[in-house]
Symmetry: C2
Subunit: 637 residues, 2 copies
């Protein structure tokens, strides 16, 4: 056993010889970035070993400079412990405090409100037909002339009040019924939940308990989990909270997590436990101080990609990863929340938005609901540039979708100094006369570059001819910020004295290549899908863009690098977290819930991995802005 | 603490001062008859204290002769322990060994088969559309062209094979789905169960597991529980087992049990535990040795009166007992068997036949199904002379029912030497020239008189003018068997040297009065109900008689005492355990199951406790055969 001490957190732990630094950190409760799930390919877990010699491996060489290696820098996931160690975790490798994230994300929540509001019919009451409802009943006491059973009396009254045709009751609820009715002089509030073709009576409470019923909408993202607490009477958002997905300990993207879940015995369980803990913690933090008990929450709706929904339900996702890419379920059964250990009312129900295919999930169905794409005759596109890059296209008559395997580059993954859109991220970058001007989230010292900053970089590099159309640094451009280090050209965005950790922030040639592949995949997917249905860009009324780039995405620059098609920017609408919005709509409207299954069923999934036109488009899109220059007439560099 | 020893079982226990002998017996695992639930009114728990003086109380006086009291006889439920005691339990007070009961009851099972057979359509396949089914599926493996989710593939195939429109799956079953499909090359057997408007997928097993699926039909009687094991493929009865309802420790009739359940904290739980233990024990005993595992059982249907069904579901029955007699439920939710700790497959479902009112239960609905009353245009009557005495009347267009509070006299309850139809019961009695001729069940020495014997007695007493029309012993008749003891006339049916316990078996004046009240209530209920719908006896095609009298019920004698109406005996059909039959039909036929709810819903319950014509009829029927002699023209005494 060796002693390992983590600085500056001053946490110590003993581990067996051969453990990796990452494993030691996890055991010590120290959260180090782990985007690739410990495969040594994201380079986000760099740490500095200060009192021991470590062996730099092949992976480390790719992500660390010679000086860094000499200074003791190493990748935590690749470095084995062979003696007592003191390890410094540099700021950029520490996983964000959820508090910071939440601040960064609250901006997202306000945006979708606008979309929500412009979608709903003029009369908001027509929307509020929620998944769970409180019905107050003032019943006649039984008499010899009218001595039907308590349950029949309850259902007779519920039918009268709601107009719904069919009700079921759980055994638990039935057991208390006789007593509650009699102790409350036949005045009770019934909590009912929609379930397939019937309504489930979840709880009977004495008197008029109206207004004490809440629901929860969850965006189960690969990277972040966001929970909204909803008053089920008014539909109002009572609170919101977000945190990093604790599953990131087991890999940052869905592929690494599937490998973890399927590669070892009991591999699934820690992933399920992690996401359930996320949701329970968020519910607790959101209800605390508001005088709301988790017991007052009767319904929870979750929107996530297919893998995330499988992990939430504790379903093996193994066949998702391998050809022919088959999920266990796409329309998920409505279950009791306690079946997956979610701490709400014991009778509370959980529903997940249906998926379309292995790589187009309930988050996309939620986005289509939120943007109202399937409700209008005009054809729209939804582009979710997340880890995967999903595209949906259609109108009220037809829908098609695909996923692009774009990778997490625009969320900072695989980019040397990339990071998520949180405090310290360079979010806006302008290069003028060779000088770099930037703003960071929270006006902090820069720690890295988030999605919107990376888009800006590619655009500004192109506009200033710092890079050529194929992305290589232009050897004719003279700029003191362009340097060559260990055989690779890179551009210095911020010098050591500007940054939080005292190391320079750079964009390397391989970062640029990576971003071009990623933007190329997204654009090729959009183009292929629109071609697939025989349309062109001009036939699309609105392009909705969802994703975690950061809220300051410059749409003109996203067009400028060829990520988004060259159309009127007014037709492009950034919608932020449309997944959460859709989950809330599902919670609040029976019609929306039924519609979600219809949408999932009517949508045609185009499998791009097997589709030659996509491969051709992908190759053509690997240029800035595009090989076919005529597709981007407005781009002026 | 005092030591109490029970003989001849030789069981000893220590109890605190003031415990009753009954309580001590229960604690020692000694089963003493307890028809009235310990209220001192049935007189069935007589024991003999041989080494201590006990205090005879008021209750004991009514049931024990002076010699018996001198000999140390006492009622176990009324006698407190105030010192060490040795207690002999006489044979008539020992609760039957279930083995004996089963022998006695197996005769019952064979009878209903005949009814069953004459009800089903010519093609038996049209009946077998069972509650649970095994469907073998040989699916195509997924491909890139057909990569719908595993669940969608399964449901697509199930729809193709069954023609059913809608399926649901439990979370447990979904969790194993991906693995089972792939490990078995997409060849699996799905076990599905009907549930409201959909089918529930309960289990997926690899390969062709057809034929390994069983169901259980249960008659949850107040006195006895009978379980049939059914092969769900063929519909065949694989086994049958019965036992006394263990709830009899807490009272022999439903009223005493409701008082027990509602009169103390946690009173409901022991009653529920008792009946669940009954069912689990019977399932174990029936499957053992047949190579069948309880896990192979996927469905269980239960028919019982309203109180028994409430106790099975662990629902408070308290409002059933009190005006206006309201049960918690009449149509019971289908539940998971494990929710009430029934040990079948963990995914197995349990359904109960619906009740009509507090005193007309699922056993009557089962009887109507078994006799096909609601399926034919001819009007029939079902008479269940059990503890309660329920009557149903109708045809395929309308149904009415009532309950008569007839008491358990014809099951031996409240009758000095009455007993159930088990070994040693006098079941056939003829009195010729003052001599008594009888046969007993199992040709054993007589231990008491069962229902058919009691009917014979009343008839033979009347025919031989031993009693008058009002039931009093005829003072003019000379018969050495008529004696007066402690002020009450009684008739000796068997002398001490003939009987098992060495005491004479008698019918007392109060026994006769009791039987007349009971038969009067049943007949008045039949008559009132037929009058209520404006019909007369001649309009009835068939009278079906169900109940535990014993299989040798002499229908002419039942008419002769005015229990059954004076019609062509060929129109009267003894159907035995029609409750069990109906439960099995529910298990085997979707149509029957749906029909059971329709029957319960279409049936009008006539509340006799509030109905003046019944009171008048009751008074008129308190005569042998009846006050209105013209109603019984065929009766020749």
């Amino acid at each position: 056993m060796f002693k390992v001490k983590f600085l500056p957190l001053d946490k110590e732990i003993e581990v067996v010889e051969g453990s990796t630094i990452m494993e030691a950190a996890q055991a010590a409760g120290v959260y180090i970035n782990n985007l690739c799930g410990g495969n040594g390919v994201c380079g986000k877990c760099r740490v500095q070993v200060i009192n021991a010699r470590i062996h730099a491996d092949m992976h480390s060489m790719n992500f660390l400079s010679k000086e860094e290696i000499i200074d003791g820098y190493a990748l935590a996931c690749q470095t084995k412990i062979d003696g007592d160690m003191k390890i410094i975790i540099p700021p950029e490798s520490i996983q964000e405090d959820p508090r910071i994230l939440l601040e960064g994300m609250e901006v997202h929540y306000s945006n979708p409100e606008k979309i929500f509001l412009h979608k709903i019919p003029a009369d908001p009451a027509s929307l509020i037909d929620p998944f769970i409802q409180n019905i107050y009943l003032d019943m006649d006491a039984p008499s010899l002339e009218d001595n039907i059973s308590d349950l029949d009396r309850l259902i007779r009254e519920l039918k009268k009040k709601t107009g719904y045709g069919s009700f079921e009751i759980s055994l638990n609820c039935l057991r208390d019924l006789a007593l509650i009715l009699r102790n409350n002089q036949w005045k009770v509030t019934a909590t009912i939940a929609r379930r397939a073709n019937t309504w489930q009576i979840l709880q009977i409470r004495g008197g008029d308990a109206f207004g004490q019923t809440y629901g929860v909408a969850v965006d189960v993202g690969t990277t972040t989990i966001v929970v909204q607490l909803i008053d089920m009477k008014s539909g109002a958002v009572v609170g919101v909270a977000g945190s990093y997905n604790l599953q990131s300990h087991y890999g940052e993207d869905v592929i690494s997590r599937m490998i973890y879940a399927c590669g070892r015995e009991q591999g699934l369980s820690p992933l399920n436990i992690a996401v359930v803990k996320n949701i329970n913690d968020l519910i607790l933090s959101i209800t605390a101080g508001k005088g709301i008990k988790p017991d007052d929450i009767y319904a929870i709706t979750a929107a996530g990609n297919t893998t995330m929904t499988h992990l939430l339900y504790n379903l093996m996702p193994c066949a998702i990863r391998l050809q022919p890419y088959v999920p266990t379920a796409s329309v998920y059964p409505q279950i009791s929340a306690r079946d997956i250990n979610i701490n709400i009312n014991p009778e509370g129900a959980l529903a997940a938005l249906p998926s379309i295919s292995s790589y187009v999930g309930g988050d996309i169905v939620a986005g289509i609901l939120a943007c109202g794409i399937a409700e209008r005759p005009e054809t729209s596109v939804l582009i979710d540039v997340g880890t995967n890059g999903e595209i949906a296209l259609g109108n009220n008559e037809w829908l098609v979708c695909c996923s692009a395997s774009a990778g997490p580059a625009f969320e900072g993954g695989g980019i040397r100094c990339g990071m998520r859109a949180t405090r310290g991220a360079m979010e806006k970058i302008i290069i003028e006369n060779g000088d770099v001007h930037y703003t960071t989230i929270g006006n902090a010292k820069p720690r890295g570059i988030c999605g919107s900053g990376l888009i800006d970089c590619l655009y500004e590099f192109s506009r200033n001819h710092i890079i050529d159309g194929d992305g290589t640094f232009n050897s004719k451009t003279e700029n003191i910020r362009i340097i060559k280090k260990e055989g690779e050209a890179q551009f210095i965005l911020a010098y050591p004295d500007e940054t939080e950790n005292g190391y320079e922030l750079v964009i390397t040639q391989s970062d640029i290549n990576h971003l071009i592949r990623s933007k190329g995949a997204v654009f090729a997917a959009i183009k292929s899908l629109i071609d697939y249905v025989g349309l062109s860009f001009k036939d699309i009324t609105t392009f909705y863009v969802a994703g975690g780039f950061g809220v300051n995405l410059d749409i003109r620059k996203a067009i400028g690098i060829g990520l988004l098609p060259d159309i009127d920017p007014d037709k492009i609408q950034f919608v932020g977290n449309s997944s959460l919005m859709g989950a809330r709509m599902y919670l609040l409207s029976a019609q929306v819930a039924a519609r979600s299954v219809e949408i999932a069923r009517m949508m045609t999934n185009v499998e791009l991995s097997n589709y030659q036109p996509f491969m051709d488009e992908y190759v053509a899109a690997m240029f800035l802005p595009h090989t076919e220059r005529r597709l981007f007439p407005s781009v002026d560099y």
